[in-house]
Symmetry: C2
């Protein structure tokens, strides 16, 4: 195990003062002679004294560590969110304990457990796809640990939320497809128990209705990744009454559809329009470049963390403030 770092006690012994004096000096307490204060501070600097955060938290009953649980780190959106969180955390003096649920309920529960044991002062999370019970999150709330959900929120828990405007994003994307002449628009989305699916579907459906197009359930598929999208899209595109447009829940899925379309030698965007959701680097790398709903993960992370900091500083007042991060339709080459 690491050898113990220098402590306030060591300094006290060496300088022949009491520990309280050292403590006061390091905290820049006003009632202390300039001389001793300086002496202590110099010694501390010279010997690389680092305050022991563990002792601090345990004593003051408050920590500066927050917990973050994301489904997956290798996912452009979540990675951006984490970046945003880290950015604010650094600025505001917090550290981040990171966990990933890997979309599994068990891992999520275990992570929450560790967060509780680590006595974090707040938690930011996006729930796993598998999760349908929320007792673990409730336990955080019961212990007065502020929880902020982002993106994949949990409606059953009373807490703050940061969501991207899924409904509006889906609505405007679908409307754009309609306006450019598409009539049979398919929608590829994640499992329906996720709020994000419901909202995006809502935007999609409302756009169709608004423009007098029928809502055909055969055009709505539960499919949200590259590999699965290829066969599903291929089958649809080979049917007699094939869709002339696809709106997918993320870029990976959209690119899977694009791939399938190319294999069938369909002209993009003339015969088939495709729109994704995320706007990661892959959207630029593809050819034709992908039209997609830009989802600013960084801003989501920043907002979520700012909300959390505000709540921690306000002494945990359970303010009912949520944030909606606007999306932006980025029109590129897979739509007319």
């Amino acid at each position: 195990m690491p050898k113990p770092q220098i402590t306030i006690k060591d300094i006290a012994r060496e300088l022949e003062v009491s520990v309280s004096t050292v403590s006061r000096a390091l905290n820049d307490s006003p009632d202390l002679s300039k001389a001793t204060k300086q002496r202590v501070q110099d010694y501390a600097k010279l010997h690389h004294y680092n305050p022991n955060f563990l002792a601090l938290s345990i004593k003051k009953r408050e920590s500066t560590v927050i917990g973050v649980i994301v489904p997956q780190v290798t996912h452009h959106f979540f990675a951006s969110v984490v970046e945003g969180i880290l950015e604010v955390a650094d600025r505001e003096g917090f550290s981040v304990l990171l966990f990933r649920s890997h979309e599994e309920y068990d891992k999520e529960v275990r992570s929450v457990q560790r967060l509780l044991s680590s006595r974090v002062c707040g938690v930011l999370t996006s729930v796993a796809k598998e999760t349908t019970r929320y007792d673990h999150f409730q336990e955080l709330v019961d212990n007065d640990i502020p929880v902020i959900f982002f993106d994949r929120i949990c409606v059953d828990i009373q807490s703050n939320r940061v969501v991207i405007d899924d409904y509006a994003g889906a609505l405007s994307a679908t409307e754009y497809l309609i306006k450019t002449g598409c009539k049979r628009i398919s929608f590829f989305c994640s499992p329906m128990h996720l709020e994000i699916s419901k909202n995006r579907r809502g935007g999609y459906v409302d756009a169709l209705r608004k423009h007098g197009l029928p809502v055909d359930n055969d055009l709505i598929k539960i499919c949200d990744n590259y590999d699965d999208a290829i066969p599903v899209a291929t089958e649809m595109l080979q049917s007699e009454n094939r869709p002339d447009a696809f709106f997918a829940v993320n870029d990976e899925t959209a690119l899977g559809i694009l791939h399938a379309s190319k294999l069938l030698h369909l002209k993009i965007p003339d015969e088939v329009s495709i729109c994704g959701f995320t706007d990661g680097f892959a959207a630029i790398a593809s050819d034709p470049q992908l039209t997609t709903v830009g989802q600013n993960g960084f801003d989501v992370g920043v907002s979520a963390m700012e909300l959390l900091v505000e709540r921690i500083r306000s002494n945990g007042e359970p303010m009912l403030k949520n944030r909606i991060i606007r999306t932006k339709l980025v029109v590129r080459e897979t739509t007319r």
Copy 2:
């Protein structure tokens, strides 16, 4: 601040036993009657007792938290590494404090400071591009905190390393380009003070030499991202003696080159071959799909964390064990 969670003391009071009895029961100590043990454990479970890790670490002078500093989270390779680390951490019972240096020296130093104060039991890191002094890392070592460098290692510090086989990866990629008939192969890489640049350059140069091709410094550019690659590649491709192949330090750069080539209506791969390094999702999304040197970030993370765990468990014996993660050339469509 969060209300204090239930403690061993609370349990002791409630059950009218001493704290040591509770402690022993919760640690499943052998010398304790089954009855009391059960009684305590039941009560603890019922009331959601969570051991206070802070108190534990401070008492036992060892923590189960490790620190990770990466330059950037939104970078497929680093995100994968973090995933790998989290995977092993979860399995082995560690938590991860994550920091990002954002390629800045100052942020890196600050992160190390916090890690020191957080009394982590080990650190995994890949150094920032800006960093040229290593005192902060040395301080970790001086405090007997095991440090494992991955990818962007630091040769000045005596510690363990996990690197991907940059030299071999670059060598085989360049050889492949040569074998498929390319004669003027350009190399786009990161700043030369990074080990990774030196090694990849070494592989590139040696491949040229081995096959009797001249090493032309005009063909070697310091350029490692999508946006910068476009103008630089464009200029080269318009020169009279243009390259017939490009080998880039990462996929983003390679895709920038690809983009520039397409704008000039050059046939890929007939007139220009392109090879990247990373193999992220964008390599599949692009059209033509990118030939690239697959760099398994997940394995890097797993190996680094396993090395760290081994070292922590072996009581910090400064074993001199390094790991080299093999790369794999993934031939797709941007090479002949």
